[in-house]
Amino acid sequence: MQTYLDSLLSKKYLIAALAATALAILVSNFLGKDYAILVGNLTYIPITGSLMVLSILVIARYGASGQHGIAWISFGGYALSALIAEMLWIFQELYLKIDPYPSTPDIFYLLNYPFLLMFFIAYFQPVRSAITKKMFAAPIAFSAGILAISLYFTIGVSSGLPLLEMALSIIYPTLDAIIIIPALIGVVLFFKGKVNFMWTLFCFGIVSVFAADTAFLFTQNDGSYYVGNPLEILFFWNYILLAFGVSNHLVLFQKQKASKFKEME
């Protein structure tokens, strides 16, 4: 009963966080583009900051113990590189007043992917024998399908752009498509288990960032992009979904009180 209540409460806060972010962006757009740029940039600070704090907490909980400890250290690397990338972007856009794309933040955005992939591999390591070849079929088909759609949109508007921007238009959707595969496998693998809630949130988060990257590259390449535009909501949702996934895992594997250990002895 308590677990069911916890789960409901956790979903209530999740929905509230998703709705509040969407509302803030939509209202700021209604007030004007300058407001949207300011709100869009500043909203990244608490969201990526929260993800970083939760990652530190989960790393502190697991330490370097076992494969899941390694997985969460990798996830911490992801959270850190995401935080650095967003802070660099904000610094360049709001303080230096220069267009941050493509530039240094992209190095850190690209670093996110190997860290996330390391997280997936390490988390799956103890249960690798449950992963069958059949499990790959549907995720690969889904990933290839949405990659084709994404490349159709991003490459279509990237002709005539500098080589780096053209390359990034291909690299981002391809890397998104790669990390969607283990995320979907995770949902199938842990289906019916309590850890599945985290995997479902991670999966939605990655699908969200895939759609956001496609929209970003499309609008960036045709010159209509600005931080805080309504499509930016998907980037925020990615971080929020991941943060709530980590939070759910922290609650599930929370530390026992010392007295209970003594009682066991």
Binding site: Q67, L189, L252
Partner: protein, 94 residues
């Protein structure tokens, strides 16, 4: 089978379970231990007599992937499966 023999086998099974869970992470071991205590009032060595408790907890926690954790426990016990009580424990986990 005398009492000492049962105790040795319980310790062996407990060691195999602990090793499999600690390979995943300390908090995973702590969570399983706590659930065993809270739901059944027993500890890891008691899984020797009640493997179904462990199976249910792993299934609740990891869903479809619980079979892989059970495989890992079986692998840790593979040198002793020729002994009837250990084989019975392994079969009950499946």
């Amino acid at each position: 089978m005398d009492t000492t023999d049962v105790q040795v086998k319980k310790a062996l099974v407990a060691f195999a379970i602990e090793r499999a869970l600690l390979d995943m992470g300390g908090p995973v071991f702590a969570k399983v231990t706590k659930t065993l205590k809270d739901d059944y009032g027993c500890y890891i060595p008691d899984c020797y007599d009640h493997p179904e408790y462990l199976k249910r907890i792993l299934s609740n926690l990891y869903g479809n992937a619980h079979a892989a954790i059970i495989d890992s426990i079986k692998t840790n016990l593979q040198d002793f499966v020729h002994q009837a009580p250990i084989q019975k424990f392994v079969c009950a986990l499946e």
